[in-house]
Amino acid sequence: MKKPGRAGHAVCPRSETGDKRIRGTLMKRLAVILALLAPAFANAASPNLGVITPRGGQRGTEVEFTFNGARLKDAQEILCYTPGCFTVGKIEVVNDNVVKAKIKIAPETRLGQHCFRVRTATGISDLKTLFVGALPEVAEKEPNNDFKSPQKIPLNVTVTGTIDNEDVDYFSVDCKKGQRLSVEIEGMRLANQTVFDPAIAILNSKRFEIATSDDSAFAAQDGVMSVIIPEDGTYIIMVRETSYGGNGECRYRLHVGTFPRPVACIPAGGKLGEEVEVTFLGDAGGPVKQKIKLPTTLDPNFGIFMQDAGGISPSPLPFRLSTLGNYVEAGPSELAKPNVFDVNTQAINGIISAPNEHDWYRFKATKGQTFDVHCYARRIRSPLDSVMHMHKADGGYLVGDDDAIKPDSYFRWAAPADGEYVLHLHDHLLKGGPTFTYRVEFTPVVPTVSTFFPKVDGNNQPNQDRQTVAVPRGNRMAVLTYASRANFGGPMQVYANGLPKGLTLDCDVMADNVDAVPVVVNAAADAPIAGSLVDLRVKHTDPKVNIDGGMKLRADLVYVQNVGSYIALDTYHAAMAVTQEVPFKVSLEQPKAPLVLNGATNLKVKVERNKDFKQPVNVYMLWNPPGIGSASGITVPGDKDVGDYPINAAPNAPVRKWKICVIAFAETGFGPAWVSSQLITLDVGAPYMSMSMDRPAVEQGRETELLCKLAITKPFEGVAKVHVVGLPHNVKAPVMDVTKDTKEIVVKLTTQKDSPPGQHQGIFAQVYIPEQGEQMLHQIGGTVLRIDAPAAPKANQPVKVAAATPPPAAAPAKTEKKLSRLEKLRVEQAEKEKAAAGGKP
């Protein structure tokens, strides 16, 4: 039985500077990965969204987008993650794999990436992106592969094109001397269904390069260029894949115009709600100061745009929103003359403006103050690879870091005493330049929490399977919900704001020693079929402790196996929907007896089917609590309505109660439909008895006794059955009865002449103890049975027939006291010595 999985996307790890060593092999790797993942598509959960085309549009216009995927024929809604910006018209279903919709993009829509899902009547697709630009769009027209006959385009347009294998696209623009010409390409960032690493260049009509950009710290694998045109004329813009690869999926959006294209800014952050004067760096026109009004609420994806008479930058510069004011580096500093800032109210903003530059900052701290000290450099797309050190102002090294947040620096630091301290910062390779900006924030250590849905296929990182919640009407679906606690511990409660009408959550408190809890989402029978982006949250159960956090769900959009993610994005809502009815339900029968440590049981899974529905139902445990093991899945065949789900408890599992459930899918004609059972209580209990077993030894063909001493730790009613298991071939033991008053039992082990000689390990007892009409399986005891071949008589000794084949069990029957192993060995040894002496004294 195979769980339906869904293949991921084109994949390639994000290398901050575009690692050329691996780039050449990306295409080949991708082909391999897609080939490997291809079979998974066949079993994909419905619906699946592959790519949205075109990959973007101009704001203020209406664009018809095509949503390509699978099982989309019952599409009902496009879920947008940016409220108020996209007005979706009628959805036109072309076929099961393609739907189209006209979308109006509001004029004030933020430029850059936006996230979408398709909601169908039966599910929610994975998350995909679209890009919004400010410029009118022009489609690439082939042939444009000859430098001498490029495609002529006006300035200030966005060209949408595709790079095929060995394809080089040329575009020409007419420019005036002194004019700014900026070019930015979105290629890798578009998260195409392949790995596309573009390279761009501006050439003059004599084919001399004015500027080139393969990769950039600002845009990673994508290129950006901004130049001042040296003389009037026609200029050629070249686009290709960096190693002349390409295929039909290598789509790009090329912004060409007079817009400003800074690649850094200082300060790179500011206080919420304030107006901040920001200096944009890296544009061909030189540094420009502009005032930016900041929002009043935190937004981890916030970015700023430079805008002037030439236009607006096509993509944002990351900008930190914080509660701290700004300290902007005053100028060059040294250990003896550091900059001075207030660590409690200000964040440092600086530039390593030249090679070999070191920046120094002095501040006061009081004993016991503990800070998380983050250097934001690559995280704000700066080329700086920071190294950060902390010293006492009067000498003495305290702490330092290079790459804790790869490649940014971070450490947690507690001031050892009241006094002055110095922060020292430089580039790892002592590089520097006018855009090597950084921002250092000292923040107190605060408890934080966020929640997420895990990847269900650990071997397929980019998959987004079951990271949405689609609940059939009148049914249930469960999702394992994790909490990432930082700087605190304690029990958490999952809750939600904005659930679609008719959905309710059912979940236990997340215990303080676990980071996950099953959440069952119930859909009322009359719930309208609809979906929404839900603010799913976790909070500390103690209302006095104000710890509360929302969702942070990562989607790996471009990922290469064994290397990592090139394009990943975080979203902050859970996509949930009520879907149309499915013809089956599952439920779990609540066990009455506890599952004891080192014990095992079968959970009863009940399947309720519509009359005509005969598909097999595949059932999985959503979550095994700590110390609990279970089968990886069972199938309840089409003609059955009950299944046994094996589950067991480790000897060291915590003794407590958990809430658990199972999830299940069946093929319903729209792809696999998922439902869940209700939550039941799994009571993990201490064993009712323990057992110590003697170590028996026996000759082949004889009998021996296995002495088992019982310690009843919880009295029980009735008679328990003891089965000795793990016995070697042709060794038999009877089933024994025990009660709460039994202290010991003697199990007769009968061997045959062909019972295998040797030390036989792994022998233990399975004890079935009755409890409330159920049988609790205890697996206790444990011993080794030694079987010996009969000793061969010595050549000069007459064989004692009577001694060699005594009547079975005759000897033990006479023994009133049960002999321990040691005592038996002594008796055996005495007999052997007696036999060896041949009766002589």
């Binding site: 990886s632 094996p646 067991n648 295998p756 792994g762």
Partner: protein, 449 residues
């Protein structure tokens, strides 16, 4: 103290032996040869011994031929020959086990035919090595050596080819359908001992071994003319250059001529000559037809046949993967064993079912198992291997060897000994570097009939 790495100079105890009285004799007596007396006497007994290397002539042992069935990817011991029905569900997995003809011995429920021939097999449940990467585990199981960055070791098949050469005009070492891994090659030995790869799967309808027949339009006379022209050219090169690839190519030509000129030899590759009923009994699939052809080749005189079956790297859904692949293997393998036995070939043909490693004791989150070389199972039969036996055991969760761990050195020493190749024999790597066939190890007598 650092652990001594096997295969290094330090690992050879001879380098640290206290000189015995006998050893000193060479100072006065045989010093000019640089040999001790015992070395000298050993050399005397060795027809090929030179420069003091220990090179006894190999003489065919009990094992005349080998069929090596390799299960690439790492076949789970739990889901094949070492089920643990009493272990917790997350260890034992979801597949059942069935009794075999060996009293008290259970194997995976998908091996129902194999269970009926278990009395002809030795199941090894305590194979162990430390290599959890596919290529390294595969290297161990094909060469008997841990991989070394300094030297490429020859495969069992190439050593057999080197030691015994051609029989009945047939290549001594054949791979079905093709070289399964680079480690199945010649290593430091001359390319002349490389396997002959069929290049086509006998399970395919149009199966035809490449290069066995003269090209269309070329008759025997024309072929002889071509051959003499080629030999003239080659003689020139051979006189000018001394290179392994020239002599290896010459060896190849000679063998190819032998094969092309012998109808009987060519017929060995003709799987269509097998009765349809028998082909059905083996199974009309890759497992069945590869094993049937292996038997046919061995019967005709091929010394070492290496074949692969399936893909066992089941990180996901091990139950489904096993259920999908094991029945074909089971049908073919059981029929191969009984077929060999019925033809009286089993006592001279060693059949090995091997894999690069086992799989993790616990089922993972994707209902599969991951790599686990600490303990795993292989099966051996025939050619002097004991009939109806289980060698070694793993512990209660199939995590570690419990009894009689079988390491690579001991395993390969046992195989070479049965083949009649002295495991301590020194083969010459480039630069006249003597390398033992097996570095250490002892014959595990409990494996032998």
């Amino acid at each position: 103290m650092a652990l001594i790495q096997p295969g290094t100079w330090f690992a050879d105890p001879a380098h640290f032996k206290k000189p015995s009285r006998r050893s000193f004799m060479h100072i006065g007596f045989l010093g000019c040869l640089g040999l001790t007396l015992d070395q000298f006497l050993r050399m005397q007994s060795s027809a090929q011994g030179k420069d003091g290397y220990y090179q006894p002539v190999s003489k065919e042992g009990k094992t005349k031929s080998v069929i090596q069935i390799f299960m690439p990817g790492g076949m789970a011991h739990q889901e094949s020959f070492d089920p643990k029905p009493n272990a917790p569900i997350e260890y034992r997995g979801e597949m059942g086990s069935i009794p075999t003809k060996l009293p008290g011995v259970f194997i995976n429920s998908a091996l129902k035919n194999t269970a009926q021939v278990a009395d002809k097999l030795t199941i090894v449940r305590s194979m162990t090595h430390g290599e959890a990467a596919h290529e390294r585990g595969t290297h161990n199981m094909f060469t008997g050596y841990r991989p070394s960055p300094a030297l490429e070791y020859p495969s069992f098949g190439s050593v057999v080819s080197h030691e015994f050469g051609v029989r009945n005009n047939l290549p001594p070492y054949v791979c079905i359908p093709s070289l399964p891994t680079n480690y199945a090659g010649t290593g430091y030995l001359s390319a002349a001992y490389a396997p002959f790869s069929l290049g086509s799967d006998p399970a395919n309808g149009g199966f035809r071994v490449q290069d066995l027949d003269l090209p269309g339009g070329v008759d025997v006379k024309r072929f002889e003319t071509r051959r003499s022209v080629l030999e003239t050219v080659n003689a020139h090169f051979a006189a000018k250059e001394k290179a392994d690839n020239i002599s290896a190519m010459d060896t190849f030509y000679q063998r190819a001529y032998g094969l092309l000129s012998s109808q009987k030899a060519k017929e060995a590759f003709n799987i269509n000559a097998e009765p349809a009923k028998l082909r059905d009994e083996y199974g009309r699939n890759t497992a069945g037809q590869r094993m049937l052809l292996a038997r046919r080749l061995v019967e005709a005189g091929v010394r070492f046949v290496s074949m692969t079956y399936g893909g066992w790297d089941l990180h996901n859904n091990i139950k489904g993967g096993t259920e999908g692949q094991m029945p074909a293997f089971d049908q073919a393998f059981a029929r191969l064993i009984s077929d060999l036995d019925q033809r009286g070939l089993l006592d001279s043909t060693m059949v090995m079912v091997t894999t690069e490693f086992g799989r993790t004791p616990k089922i993972n989150g994707n209902a599969g198992r991951d790599h686990w070389p600490k303990v795993f199972s292989i099966v051996m039969a025939g050619g002097g291997i004991k009939r109806g036996s289980v060698y070694g055991s793993s512990d209660s969760t199939a995590s570690e060897p419990q009894d009689d761990p079988l390491n690579i050195d001991d395993w390969s020493t046992t195989i070479y000994t049965l083949l009649g190749i002295e495991p301590k024999k020194q083969l010459l790597a480039p630069g006249s570097r003597p390398i033992r066939v097996v570095d250490g190890g002892e014959v595990k007598k409990e494996l032998l009939a």
